[in-house]
């Protein structure tokens, strides 16, 4: 079993303004990118469940030229609200680290 956190070159989460959260995942090459692209990481339903946001508001971008995946969705709570414990959303990628990737493409 291989987890996303073992394969990604860089994962980061951040506000995109006070009302949006965006997560960038970078890979070292096309093989890792393709494995992640075929994993639940790119499933809006999984993201919606983890972050408790509507699935149809989750935007997933597969950036093959960069070997990167970008995921954006409205912040579950607006930045700085009384219940917001992560003002910059800098730790919101952590639940994604354990996502399991499918086996390596033999090609």
């Amino acid at each position: 079993m291989t987890a996303l956190g073992d394969v990604a070159r860089l994962i980061r989460s951040k506000n995109a303004g006070p009302f949006w959260l965006t997560i960038d995942v970078f890979f070292a090459g096309p093989a890792d990118f393709r494995r992640a692209a075929a994993s639940p990481l790119t499933d809006p339903e999984l993201i919606a469940g983890l972050y408790q946001v509507p699935a149809d508001a989750v935007q997933v971008f597969l950036l093959d030229q960069l070997d990167a995946i970008k995921i954006s969705f409205p912040r579950p709570v607006v930045q700085g609200a009384l219940t917001d414990a992560d003002l910059h959303a800098g730790q919101q990628y952590i639940p994604l680290l354990s996502i399991e990737l499918p086996p390596e493409d033999p090609a």
Partner: protein, 456 residues
């Protein structure tokens, strides 16, 4: 160096963040045409807009601005500072202007300062709202008058036009209120007729200084704009820009990987090609800019959300940690009921939070883990009420409960670990972001006012 080059030096991602003095002192040698630096953001949260207070240390802003102004004098070029005082309120512009005047006096600098004010009186925006000229941006809904009037401070986000007008009027130091980070950098290339796609794209790449380089914590960057594209290189000779570090920065803090909305249109970087000119310089061509049919000025607003008092309680007892969710729920329920019963507050008049740092405090709701993995957990108790005295009264009421709350069935009275004495900390007034809207304006400068002053 090509003859049609326009060079913008971006010393650092945020004024007050600090940079190696040598990196900016090279402005003349590098042939820079302007130094542009951002001084704010919404990223530090609603307080700085709501209270019109800067988050940066004054001494740090003065240190950076002095080095920038000296380098600009040496090179004979102007300086553009945007989002002054973190949130870009009028007080923020005045705050940076006061620092600039002190530096000018101490260093004998001749400055023509343009102060561009963009704070909006919420009541003055009402007619625009009633005229249907204020529209929501996703994910917001339509704005209502009560929300608008409830804001303690509202700023309009300015584009490049008021900056360009200030430079045309002879300013060599432009201090702008809230501005798009990109407008500061794109202003001079666009004034000199460089194409809009590369101008806005290069500006986005450089907006955080060295963040698009291999040494994100180091010096800033130099961006060179010409008629076909732009190149970007680090100011730190030991750092590099690579096609990957540059292209990756387009994603940073941006909802869409390719599109970015500006007041006058949309940058589309989908067709951009990134090539390495040498091991540390990247060339970008193919970026496009689609002008919008309607020029818009985005609004940012923050509303008072009460006064807050906090108490930090440390817990290491493994029996409590094993049942932490139950413990937390019970304590919170007990205190909520007690505040209503003993302090006479109605349920809607106060807010209590009990965040377990070390156990799911940072996990999104759908990703909570069942048992605390930590040997210690910090419970942060937060009470928020209409005034400071009430918030603190609640925290004092909670004090013995937070110190001694026993597990169900326990026979002895435990004591947990307060972080200090007094146990409670007053945080003053807190705020929330409320506006995510844009105004259809008749002209780019409709909501902005510029004041020029000469310092000789």
């Amino acid at each position: 160096m090509t003859a049609d080059a326009v060079r913008v030096l971006v010393p650092v991602g945020m004024l007050g963040g600090g940079f190696p003095p040598d990196s900016v002192a090279r402005a003349r040698e590098l042939g820079a045409d302007v130094i542009a630096v951002d001084a704010g953001s919404t990223d530090s949260g609603p307080y700085y807009l709501g209270a019109a207070a800067a988050k940066t240390a004054r001494a740090a802003v003065a240190r950076d601005l002095r080095l920038i102004l000296l380098a600009a004098r040496d090179a004979g070029i102007p300086v553009i500072v945007g989002s002054c005082g973190t949130s870009g309120t009028d007080a923020g512009v005045d705050w940076v202007a006061a620092i600039a005047r002190e530096i000018a006096r101490a260093e004998g600098l001749a400055l023509t300062i343009a102060r561009i004010y963009g704070e909006q009186d919420p009541a003055a925006l009402l007619p625009l709202l009633e005229a249907g000229r204020i529209r929501p941006l996703p994910p917001a809904g339509p704005l209502d008058a009560g929300t608008l009037l409830g804001c303690s401070h509202v700023v309009g986000v300015l584009g490049l036009e008021p900056i360009a007008a200030a430079l045309d009027a002879g300013a060599n130091l432009v201090l702008a209120g809230r501005a798009t980070d990109t407008a500061l950098i794109a202003a001079v290339p666009l004034m000199r007729g460089r194409p809009a796609g590369p101008a806005w794209h290069g500006a986005k790449i450089a907006e955080c200084g060295g963040l698009c380089t291999t040494n994100p914590g180091g010096a800033g960057v130099l961006v060179t704009f010409d008629h076909d594209g732009f190149t970007v290189e680090p100011l730190d000779p030991a750092a590099a820009c690579t096609p990957l570090t540059v292209a990756a920065h387009m994603l940073y803090e941006n909802r869409d990987p390719f599109l970015m909305r500006e007041p006058g249109g949309t940058l589309d970087a989908a067709g951009a090609r990134y090539t390495a000119l040498d091991p540390r310089t990247v060339r970008v061509e193919g970026s496009a800019f689609e002008p919008a049919a309607q020029y818009t000025t985005k609004l940012e607003g923050a509303t008072p959300a009460g006064f807050q008092t906090t108490t930090l309680v440390g817990i290491a007892d493994p029996r409590v940690l094993a049942r932490l969710d139950e413990f937390r729920t019970r304590v919170l329920r007990y205190l909520t009921n007690g505040v209503v019963r003993d302090l006479g507050l109605a349920p809607g008049e106060f807010d209590l939070q009990l965040r377990a740092y070390g156990h799911n405090a940072l996990r999104p709701a759908g990703a909570a883990v069942p048992v605390a993995p930590s040997a210690e957990v910090g419970l942060l108790f937060t009470s928020t009420a209409a005034d400071q005295a009430t918030a603190t009264e609640i925290a004092r009421y909670a004090n013995p409960v937070l110190l001694h709350a026993p597990l169900p069935g326990a026979s002895a009275l435990p004591s947990y670990a307060f972080a200090g004495s007094p146990a409670e900390t007053e945080r003053g007034q807190v705020y929330q972001f409320t506006l995510c809207h844009a105004v259809d304006v008749g002209a780019p400068d409709e909501l902005f006012r510029t004041e020029l002053e000469e310092i000789r």
